[in-house]
Amino acid sequence: MTWLAFRRHRTNLIIATGLVVALSGWMALVAHGFDTAPLKSFLQSSGSHGHDSIGHYRDIYGGPTILRLDYQVDAINLVLLALPCFLGVLLGVPLVAAELADHTNRVAWTQHISRTRWLSTKWWVIGLPLVILSTLVVLVTQWWWHHSVTSGLGSLFGTNLFGGSSRVQPEVFSVTGVVPVAYTLFAFALGAAIGALARRVSWAIVGTILVYAAASLIMATTIRPNLAPKTFVASTQGFPSSSPLTDGGAPWYIGYGYQFSPGSHHPTDASAADIGRRCENLTGDFYACLTHNDLRTGQFYQPASNYWTLQWKESAIYVIASALLLAIGLWLVRRWRA
């Protein structure tokens, strides 16, 4: 069965490997571009930072090389964000759906082998190389990211990836650490389950992309901000230039909100956010309402020091979801008529 699983899906495995190799090559080229761009020595000599110096540099040296690097960094970042979903679609969807569409499952399921073994063998024969591939992509990305940042250029470009040059910000967070591997596993299990349900490759591709995108959005907007304790910075304090909040890089800004002033406890069980929202809806004096309720306004952040807590917790959620999806896929395969 191992032989069959590999033989049946080897073309897509080869395509996936080729894509990863090509992407790594591209990243190496861009990193090399940063190394050799004349900008580096210019910056080191002038010691200046910020977008003004870029503009200045463009005036002096001409921008095309830099522009190309800049755009390429953005493009690579988009590819990296989409890669787990793409790999999941490429290798997960055909796992069951392609066989159902070609009716080849009828041949496989009438040989002397159970449907459970048929599917579970496919899981590891395809899933294991997939996890290895996505781990390789993360390693290359980490190298590429550090390489580019240490070259001193990253923060100057105003690109998504280097916008805050902080690993806790969503664009960097989602392509580094352990979450990309968990995302890839999730997309694979999702593709397999939706493929078994839809029985058509085209529908399964669309379904997998939609569900994956929705899950990513919900994760980044509502779940991830709460996976580790947030830090509150009161508006009156001003943003601290140096504190635990800024250790290890810029924090991730989550949103505007309310907190009770230190030492005060509101008599009712209402949360600060509830009362704050009530104050917003008052026609009277907003600030008087806040003071009356011992509330202060401010911003919530996830400090960069929470990076690994967030990474592991989010990965755990995705891995559990993947296991559930694999179980659903198996249940569908055992239940479906051929």
Partner: protein, 302 residues
Amino acid sequence: MTAALETVGLGRRYRSNWGLRDCTLTVRQGSITGLVGPNGAGKSTLLRLAAGLSRPTAGTVHIFGKEVNPNGTDHLARIGYFDQMRPLYGGFKVAEMLAFGRRLNSTWDDEATRGWLAEFDIPLDRTVGKLSLGQQAQVSLAVCMGKRPDLLLLDEPVAALDPLARRQLLQALLGTVAERGTTVFLSSHIVSELEPVCDELIILSSARVQTSGTIESLLAGHRILVGPLLDNEPAGLDIVSSSSTARQSTLLVRGVAPDLGTEWQVLEPGLEEIVLGYLANPKAGTGMDVAATGDSELTGPA
């Protein structure tokens, strides 16, 4: 002796309509049993249920006395299933299809399979998807036979083949089957195809079994009556179907016809006429299949 295949009250519903309903039949061990019926009669549904690819909505299927469990493997060791669509891994080479069979089965007769393909001049290094339909059918059949099954379930094995290829395939099949004592249950919508190879016949239409029995008992048990135009069906006749022109009536009846008078002519029907008679009247015979099976046991194989 336990039956190779036995179904009792077997039914399969697809959403609102039944693909097969209330199907009770027996395929005797060692027999070559044909399953005839028009397209959509439920032949493929029945064979898929027997192969454990589909789960019954009602009733039971037993293969050699054991109930078929779609998630189990007991029945899989004993059957060879040939699907109507001849699904094969299109990108595989013929030799790889054989490797597929060898690796997925506990018993595999590689020599016989290669011999079978060599006999039909199918090169092992050719990609399956590039073979002709007839050659693909041969490869599918080779994979079925390689398992050395005790029961071959063949769904329209010769459809889409030219007459010469049909005859070759059926002859080769019969030769191998006779050697090994394999039971064969094969479906077709063309009666003339089945008549020369089958011992027994089951007629299926509109998702129900109409009649079954050995070819001999079917031939002996039916008569065609041709006579004057009738207003009412005469009593005492078990009429399968009737047709009439402006001047005369033609009746297909079960059993030996009573003497209706000199104006009636009694003819012995061919198998095709019997089958067409049943198919013309889908209600005929349903619910009487048990009696028909009894007949066939009395008559016995010739």
